[in-house]
Every structure is written in structure tokens, then in C-alpha cells.
Subunit: 355 residues, 3 copies
């Protein structure tokens, strides 16, 4: 088997342990339940696989030194683009690598490739970066220490440190912003709403956390939460344009608090911005510890999903413009436009750099 041949070669360079700790690869056939009616795999299915790979490699790494046993919890996912659609029957390959460690966090880079095993065609569909924090198995509130990794060059370490500092800043910022926004998204009487308004497509779902949603420590896998968020965002998008829609990208997502077993999760989504060919949907996750009510409901996660609308041949369709009715909606639209233009500029800059 593959691993044997590989091991042999690695033995020669004396880094078997290194290899096993820092890289990982998983794959899975895409089934009908992973996709929408026309066969496009849900963005949420892919996000869930990405997070599973990250959680495995992160947890394994954090347990490589003596001391407390711990489980890696997702703290943040950097902005992720969906470069190509994936289809039912294709094999999704997810490979993960640890690229940076700080005292209490681990950065995992994950690449996703779709393979059509009938034609052999392969496409890179996603590149994601995730940050994990290890929690002690003995005390779920205690953060464990992360064993340092070796870098292939000092430059690599320096780059990692920069990414670490940047995400730390951003996490603090959104934490504060989250504090401000407390009121829930209300679902209005949809049939009384005009088409293309925010109220017309606004949607929400509740989910009772089950055992298979949780890690060994009894909190919800970040991937499970992201899959529910993508589900709601997709329904908002479909309600707006009544066509086949797919996830184009997800902005950075911060997971400020763990959601424990026994909670009810409310996931709500509302459209914030439309460009000619894309829609931005803001998604909120609120956790309600049903039985231990003294803890109170809390805002666990917020994020922005971008969707595009596709015709029968998977070509982008124009998106009907969002009809704004309230001042708040106008404000959110302007903020969405800023994010849209920033991302566009960034994409162009990246393109030029690679030419």
C-alpha cells in the first residue's frame, strides 16, 4: 500500500514522525444526499469535510507531547472560495497540513480536489485555512498548550506569524461587533412581503444538537455548524432568485463560544447585498441551552456567504437587485458593497501577482 512505499522513503530522510503528525488526507464519494437537485454538491458538505480533516490533524498534533489529553476546537476559518462546482459520484479529496503553531493555537491549511473517477478529470475546488484551539479532556474550559512544529525555512515561520497576528486582531474586532448586535433576526410574514425585499427571502431553522454532531468533549463540531449555516444561506439565495444557486465563497468565520450538547441552535439568514452576478447573505447562529436555562441564549457565530445563480449549463445568471425598504437594510447593503469591492480588488491583485 501507498503508505508503505511512502514510509520507506520517509524513513530514509528520517522524518516518519514528522510526516504522520503534520499531513493528512481523506476522501469520500459524493452521494445524492450531499447535493442539490441538479447534482451540485452543497458548499456546506465541503465545509464539513474540511473541518473534519482539520479537527483530526489538529487534535493529533496537540496530543503528541506528554501532558493533558485534549480535543481541538475550531476557532476561526479564513475566507474560503469555491473555485469549481463538485458533482454527485465524484470523489472529494481533502488534504490537510499544519502550517503554523502558536502557544495555544494551530493553523491548518486544507485543500480540496474533486476527482471524476470515470474520466479521471481533477479540479482544485477549495483552499481553506483553519485555526484550532485545544481544550483539555479533563476540564473543558482549560486551553492546553500546543507543541511547536519545525518549519522548512525561517521565512515560512515568519509568514505564519504574520497570519497569526492578523487573524487575532480580526477575531477581537468581530467579538466586539458581535457584542453590539444582540437582537435576533425575526422572520416576518413572508407572503405579505414584496418580491426581492430582504423580508421576502429571510429564513431561519432550529436544530437540536445530537450526539453525532459533537466531539468527544461534547461540543458541536465547527463543520456541523457551518453546514447548517450554508443550508440557511442557500435557502435565502434560492428564495430570492428562484433558480439553481451555489456557494461562491464564505467570508472569515469566528467561533467565539463552544456550543455544548443539549443546546438548540437557531440559524438565521438575511440577504445584505446583491451585485450583478452575486448575492451576499449574513448568517447568525444562536445557541440556547434548553435545559440549563440559567446560562442563557447566546450568539455563537456570524458569517457572510456569497452565492451565485446558475443556468442549466452551469453559467452564471444575472441576480435580481435587492429591494431595500429600511434604513438599516440600506446601511448593511453599503457595508456589503465595501466587502464586495475589497474582495474583487484582492482577487485581481492575486491574479496579477501570479502572472
Amino acid at each position: 500500500m501507498f503508505s508503505v512505499r511512502l514510509l520507506r522513503r520517509t524513513f530514509q530522510i528520517g522524518t516518519k514522525r514528522f510526516l504522520h503528525k503534520l499531513h493528512d488526507h481523506l476522501h469520500k464519494i459524493m452521494r445524492p444526499d450531499d447535493a442539490n437537485i441538479v447534482g451540485n454538491v452543497h458548499g456546506g458538505t465541503i465545509l464539513k469535510m474540511i473541518e473534519e480533516a482539520g479537527c483530526i490533524i489538529g487534535t493529533r498534533h496537540c496530543n503528541t507531547q506528554t501532558g493533558d489529553r485534549c480535543v481541538a476546537a475550531l476557532a476561526r476559518v479564513e475566507r474560503t472560495d469555491f473555485l469549481h462546482p463538485m458533482f454527485i459520484g465524484e470523489v472529494a479529496h481533502v488534504s490537510a497540513e499544519i502550517t503554523y503553531t502558536s502557544k495555544h493555537s494551530v493553523e491548518v491549511q486544507v485543500n480540496v480536489l474533486s476527482e471524476n473517477i470515470l474520466t479521471g478529470a481533477k479540479k482544485v475546488t477549495n483552499k481553506a485555512a483553519l485555526w484550532y484551539v485545544p481544550f483539555s479532556l479533563k476540564n473543558v474550559d482549560k486551553i492546553a498548550e500546543v507543541p511547536p512544529i519545525e518549519y522548512s525555512s525561517p521565512e515560512r515561520e515568519e509568514e505564519g506569524k504574520k497570519r497569526y497576528e492578523a487573524q487575532k486582531m480580526e477575531r477581537l474586532e468581530t467579538k466586539e461587533r458581535n457584542g453590539e448586535v444582540i437582537n435576533a433576526v425575526t422572520v416576518p410574514e413572508r407572503h405579505m412581503k414584496e418580491p426581492y425585499t430582504v423580508g421576502c427571502s429571510q429564513s431561519s431553522l432550529i436544530h437540536l444538537v445530537g450526539p453525532s454532531d459533537c466531539t468527544l468533549l461534547g461540543f458541536v463540531h465547527g463543520g456541523v455548524t457551518m453546514k447548517l449555516m450554508d443550508e440557511v444561506a442557500g435557502i435565502v439565495a434560492a428564495r430570492h432568485c428562484k433558480t439553481n444557486i451555489v456557494t461562491a465563497s464564505v467570508d472569515a468565520i469566528n467561533f467565539h463560544r463552544k456550543i455544548m450538547k443539549g443546546c438548540v441552535i437557531t440559524v438565521s439568514g438575511r440577504m445584505t447585498f446583491t451585485s450583478n452576478k452575486s448575492m451576499e447573505i449574513e448568517v447568525f447562529v444562536d445557541a440556547d441551552p434548553l435545559v440549563e436555562a440559567e446560562q442563557g441564549k447566546f450568539r455563537a457565530v456570524t458569517a457572510f456567504f456569497t452565492y451565485i445563480s446558475l443556468d442549466k449549463d452551469n453559467r452564471p445568471l444575472p441576480v435580481p437587485p435587492l429591494k431595500l425598504e429600511e434604513e438599516e437594510e440600506q446601511k448593511r447593503f453599503e457595508e456589503g458593497k465595501v466587502r464586495y469591492l475589497q474582495n474583487k480588488a484582492k482577487r485581481l491583485a492575486d491574479k496579477e501577482r501570479h502572472q
Copy 2:
């Protein structure tokens, strides 16, 4: 169990094939995901199994004569009581029998038994009666003819006919009532609501219909819908009393329209009535054919679920009384009280008859 008695009778008349048409038995080990945190199997899990057994036996029976191939769609479930809780690790036995056929419908009686395979203890947990209507595989809007069954006695046939006439009447009635009620249940800003009010526990979820939710004909299995309904009702009940809650009974449910693949289902629940030891929750299912928007959103199902609250030793706890704020809530409470008293009277009458 029931099957043996049957076996004997059928053997005598030497119709092994006949036997295969009219009886069926399935069982399944209950898994963690089938239950709540304290290990009680969700009522919705049981309803889904009951419907799967009914759909199989109904579809098989309707295809025993030459003619169009067809799939049985659930039209109605009679009132169902949950007699005993079922737990993770137990085996649920579901046995189904066809007990009456009219020209276009099939009555299936389903019994559910829980078996603790370690101690051997068995308990009857449910007895349900379901009505199915066969739809042609070639034309999803055409209702096929049902082959007649043979009855063990003319009395049996007569009793079946009475049940058939009674449910037909009730279906017509609720169809009309459903027509009246059009406005959706709105989910208010929960945090602004006082505890124990209707608004405080009101909940709703959305679900994008996936391939595994559907029959060969591409419409949602009645059992899938009932499981979602029970999920919402359970969350409403838990939000009201913040304790471990279980399904005690479901009133008769009518399925007026098929929900096709590609719909988004919105399931909303609100508390209508509380007695000392029980809560009644009204649940609405609305279907929204996202892409084929010309069809428009429609109310697909409504039902009443009754829940009870349990302590650590599975003994019933008192339920906090529902705080009524609006006239409409008062009216629904009175109606719920009538249903509660009727069911109580019926239960007492049944008990006396059996003594």
C-alpha cells in the same frame, strides 16, 4: 407477536404469497441520534419507522395486480398514543398489516414493540392506523386502483368500512378548516417575551427536501414530515418547561397535498393548551416550491402533538400553565381544552370496555 397468529391462518389456506402481501415486520436498533440527551427515543423517530413500514406494505399490495405500477402515499394517520418510552440500545419492532381496502385507499395497522435484548423485556409502545393512496409511476397525479383483500369474516370487513367512512368525513372537514387558516406562524423576538407565554416557546425550522426524504415518485415520505413536526413540537415543549420532555400522543394528521422534491419545508409550532401534566402544541407544515415559484407556497399539513415533562426517574412532572396574552390565544386554549377532555373521556371509556 401478532405475526404468528397470522401465520397459522394463512398456512391453513395455503397462500404463502398472500401472506407476503398483507403482513410485514421490521426492526431496528435505536441509536444515539434517534434519542434525546437522556436516552429517550424521539417520538418522531418512531413515527418515521411506522410510516416506512406502512409505505412498504401499501406499495407492495397495490402492485400485486397487473396494471400501472404505483407508489403508496400517506394520506392520513389516525390518533397515535405513545404508551411507553423507548431507549437507546433497545430494538424497535414494527409490524404492519393491511386491514382494509377501498377502491382507492389502503388501511394499514402498525404495532410497535420495544425489546430490551439484554433483559428480554418487551413493551407495546404504539398502535397506529395509516391510510395510503396509490399514485401511478407514469403520472404522479393519477390515483391507481387498489386490489381488494379477503377478510377473515364479514364483521371485519364491516368494521373496516366504518373506519373508512369516518376518516373520509374527517379529512373533508380538516380540508375545509385548513383553507380558512392561511396566515403563517410568526416567530417573535423571543427575548422580549415573558416566560410561559405562547410567543416565548414558539419555534420554526426550514428544511430543504433531499433525495433520501423522497419516494421513487419524488415526493416526501409522510414519515419524514412527521419526524420534523415532532422535532419542532419537542423544542416548543422544552422551551416552555426547560425539562426532559417526551411525546405522549399525536392527533390524527391529514396529508392533503404531496410535497415534491426541491421544495423548502417550513415547520412551525406554537403551544395551544396546558393541563396539569401535559402540553398541546399545534404544528404547521408549509411547502414552498422554490424554483417552480408559479405553484406558490401552500399549507401541506397541520397537527396537534401532546407532550409531557419527565423527571430523572421518568415520572411525570407538573407543567407550568400557559400565559395567555391575546384573544386568539384564549380561543385556541379553549379549543385545546375540549380536545383534551374528549380524549380523556375516550380513554376512560376504552378502559372500562376492556375490563
Copy 3:
């Protein structure tokens, strides 16, 4: 990433294509639903993962040459031992390699390793050999040709050929034997049966084939069938000894006919033999094409599962002897004893060879 480093090295030796065709690796965290109450992962969960890995690598290989696109269908699994228990929270690593090809079939060797990502402990839990046959996407009844592989030595090829001939003979034999046995296992009134008799533990379940159970060609994945078989065998074993039981081995399984979408599968199990520390359970799979009834019900698979009973510390417990009541049961017991002694002798011989 891992793949890059790997690819680069492989490019140098010019076997990128070889590598990608013939080896594969997948892994998955074990969740509560994958295991029994005490946390032991079900044998059926492992068999399903093994088959998924085999199907991916087999299908990929059969599509590497131009010609008809095809899907690999499982034809046979060789005898598989479960060497160590696997637990919830562990990561199962499944690696697959193509080890032999004939004109119309592919042999895949699959190894399974359990990894405790907290302690780093790893154990080989299974080694399996599977035979696949490719069916054309255009015509589900047409078998495609398999591209030949290169062997590392002529001895390897010769050994593969011997395995191929041996399994071919055995498949023919069981095909005939299957023909004889027609009557289904009936589920008797269990409570009237004496403990430890065959009738007392006999069990069966039915399953309606859903879309996610099937390959692109619309027939059931062999792994899905094996998982159901293990579920029934486990219930039979638990009913017999009322303790925690685990799968110890599965005899070779032949898949004579494909089970298509829309079938109802009946899986029945009965105990055939007990030794001091093990039980053998015979499992039958019958497929019933519900809608296309003219095709008729057929026996799709049969197999023997061996289970052991464990105490709290995972040590084997004595198994209560099977009480035989009928001549047929006596005959099957004797046959089971022969298989038991043969396997024991084979195990001893293998052990000596490795010393």
C-alpha cells in the same frame, strides 16, 4: 501540502500515474452512531468503509483506459477477521491497493488501522480482500474489460492468479447452494421459545433502498448490504447471550445479483453454531422489487458471521451452548463445526508459518 511533495518525488521516478491508480487511503472519525452502547464500533461500519475504499479504487482503475465508462460492483469479499476492537472518537484509516486483475475482475486488498488521536496508539484491525466486476454506465447488464496492472514480480502475478482461480471456484459452488435454499427465515413467537434455541434469537429486518445507498448505476453498494447483515447478526448474537457482543469474523461473502434502487431488502439471521467462546450466525439477504413485481423476489446474498461475547473489560466470556430442536438445526450445527475447526486449523497454520 503532502501531495505536492509526494508528486514531485514520484515524478522523478516517472510513476505518477501508477501511484494514483493503484493505491488509496481514506479515514474517518468514529461517531456515536457508528458504535454500540459500550462504545465498540460495529463490524458493519468497518465493512462499509472497506467497501467504499474498494469501490473508489476499483472504479477509478477500470476507467483508466479509453472505452466504456463503468462502475465497479462488489462480487465477493474474502473471509475477514476483526483483530482488535475500535472505539468512538478513534480515527479509522482505510488504505486500499489493487493487487490483481483478470479480464473482467479486480482484486483489492484493504487494510484498516485504528488510531487513537489522543494517545497516538495505532492497531491493525482488519485486512480484507475484495473482488470487483465493472459494469458499463450505458448498459447496466454489460460487463466491461479491466485494464491490466503491472506486477512488482512474476511471483506476485502468479500468487494473484491462484487467488483468482480459488475464489472463482468457490463463487460457483455457493451459487449452486444458494439455489437450493429458498425458504426465508420466519420470525416465530419469540416469547414462546425456550432460551438458547435457534428460534429464540432468530431475527430479521427490512430496509427500503434509498438513493444514498446506491452507486451511480443505481444498484446498492455492497458495503450498505454488509452493514445491514452485521446489524441483524449482532441482534441475533445479543439475543442469545444477553451481553455485549462484537463481530469476530465474516466468512467469504458472494454477491450473486445486483440489488437495484426501489427494492425492499429483507435481511434475516439465525444462529447455526456455538463453540465455547464464539457464535456463528447465518445471514440471508432477499431483495424484493416492490414496484416491478413481475421480476420476483430473489436471494441476493448469504454469509456467516462469527461473534464473541465480551465482559466489561473487553475479555471474552463463555457463550451459552445453542439448544438444537430440529434435525435441520442439528445438520447446520455440524456444518458450522466443520467451518469452525477448519478456520481454527488455518489460524494455527498461519501462526506457525509466521514464527
